[in-house]
């Protein structure tokens, strides 16, 4: 079974207005650049996007923000993006802020068939408003529900035609869990190899979670905070 599609254009077939989509990455690290760019050239809009961040003004998901394709963002951190702040404050953009660990776990839960679970994060804060709470081991916890998506879009370092993925360094972040939580998961990879070439002991995301895969092009990998040793 070969899950390969030709390119980003073919990969996004079936994406529609109003869908919920997940995008991997932390800051600009490990984001699916090809699909974001492709999608920002379409008129697909009213999207609910689940992503830890929302890119910067002129890169990553910021491109889709500028084109007002996003109706709602579900994220843990959205700083460093002026257009984002403008749309949020004007009410054009709906924003749901979720603690980062809770976000990660809600996505994993969506992929793992766990509809809800308890965590301590956010109890007693705005995050807990309207949520059920309950004590375990003398500590209060919130009931948190799973996230799923019509499409999950992830970026990996290497992948094979069976959909297996390997990430490099901290470019894994949300990609692994999001792959689990998409009804359709698209993976763009820097290097696509035939099934059998990756060591089966060292697969980060097993192919079962990936429906479409292609080798991306022209990766920019912009660095947000270039910090060097003196």
């Amino acid at each position: 079974m070969n899950k390969t599609v030709k390119n980003a254009t073919e990969a996004i077939q079936g994406m529609k207005n109003g869908m919920t989509m997940m995008f991997g990455g932390f800051g600009l690290c490990g984001i699916p650049e090809n699909i974001i760019l492709e999608l920002s050239k379409t008129d697909i809009k009213d999207l609910t996007i689940i992503s830890n961040n929302c890119g910067v003004d002129d890169f990553g998901l910021g491109l889709m923000l500028q084109r007002k394709q996003i109706r709602k963002m579900i994220s843990s951190y959205v700083g460093e993006n002026a257009e984002f702040e403008r749309q949020m404050l004007s009410g054009e953009l709906e924003v749901e802020l979720v603690p980062q660990g809770t976000l990660a776990e809600r996505i994993r839960a969506g992929g793992a068939g766990i509809p809800a679970f308890y965590v301590p994060a956010g109890y007693g804060t705005e995050v807990g408003i309207g949520k059920e709470s309950r004590e375990f081991n003398g500590k209060m916890h919130l009931l948190e529900h799973a996230f799923k998506a019509d499409f999950a879009v992830v970026k990996a370092w290497k992948g094979d035609t069976a959909g297996n993925l390997i990430f490099k360094y901290t470019a894994n972040n949300f990609n692994n869990m999001m792959a689990m939580a998409g009804k359709i998961t698209i993976a763009e990879v820097e290097e696509l190899v035939p099934a059998g070439e990756l060591d089966p002991n060292f697969i980060h995301t097993p192919g079962i979670f990936v429906q479409r895969i292609f080798q991306g092009v022209d990766y920019i990998k912009r660095i947000e905070q270039l910090t060097l040793s003196k």
């Binding site: 932390f26 959205v78 802020l97 994060a121 804060t125 360094y169 972040n173 040793s229």
Partner: protein, 218 residues
């Protein structure tokens, strides 16, 4: 004389023990890494998915795929490991990280902390801070004692939206080291040359002073 940022970081470094797994927030906490005593070894966890964070890279070794939670380019040390965000927060939530050091806008005498939102002015999001403060056994706040307007950041009750409740254990400011106790902020140490009266004046919350308060030794 009040401590500068580096001195606050240096004092906090004294909280570290050999073998500790440590999560450092953005700002002053990041500086703590520069002052780890030579005789101990700690392992830095970065919540975006790594253990064993090293120094900043050189121009030759910089890699866009290797950043910390502050989105700064970094390196890794021998014995490092990389993993996804769910595993990273499993470490944090599961209590495997020994100490979390983070900044704050306000801390209350109950140990509540506000650090992520100023209504009408700033909403960047909580990132991993809510998970960290709700889970770690040992939470140290690094901050200035007062804000830029000269108002105390150690309060009876926080005025800003909370990051977590009853979680802060210790606070290191430019003026003092304090513990959160049942009865309020207990003064442990004072910055060299700073008087108990000055600290009292700068602390809106209940300040408990018992016996002689030694000066911070750096």
């Amino acid at each position: 004389m009040a401590l500068d940022k580096n001195q606050i970081a240096k004092r906090i470094a004294q909280e570290l023990q050999d073998g500790y797994y440590v999560n450092l927030g953005i700002g002053i906490p990041t500086l703590v890494a520069n002052y780890v005593p030579e005789e101990i070894k700690v392992i830095l966890q970065s919540e975006n998915g790594m253990l064993g964070m090293g120094q900043f890279p050189t121009k030759e070794t910089v890699d866009a795929d290797l950043i910390n939670a502050g989105k700064q380019t970094i390196t890794y040390l021998p014995g490092a490991s990389f993993f996804d965000s769910a595993t990273s927060f499993a470490m944090i939530r599961g209590g495997h990280v020994d100490i979390t050091i983070l900044g704050a806008f306000e801390v209350s005498e109950q140990g509540d902390i506000a650090s992520w939102k100023v209504p009408g002015r700033l909403i960047k999001g909580m990132g991993g801070a809510m998970d960290l403060v709700a889970s770690a056994e040992h939470i140290v706040v690094a901050m200035q004692h007062s804000n830029k307007e000269g108002q105390s950041k150690l309060l009876k009750k926080c005025t800003l939206p909370l990051t977590g409740v009853k979680c802060v254990k210790r606070i290191v400011t430019d003026l003092a080291v304090l513990d959160v106790t049942d009865k309020g902020f207990k003064l442990l140490e004072r910055a060299p040359g700073v008087t108990v009266e000055q600290i009292k004046a700068a602390t809106e919350g209940t300040l408990i002073v018992e016996g002689d308060i030694p000066e911070i030794v750096l």
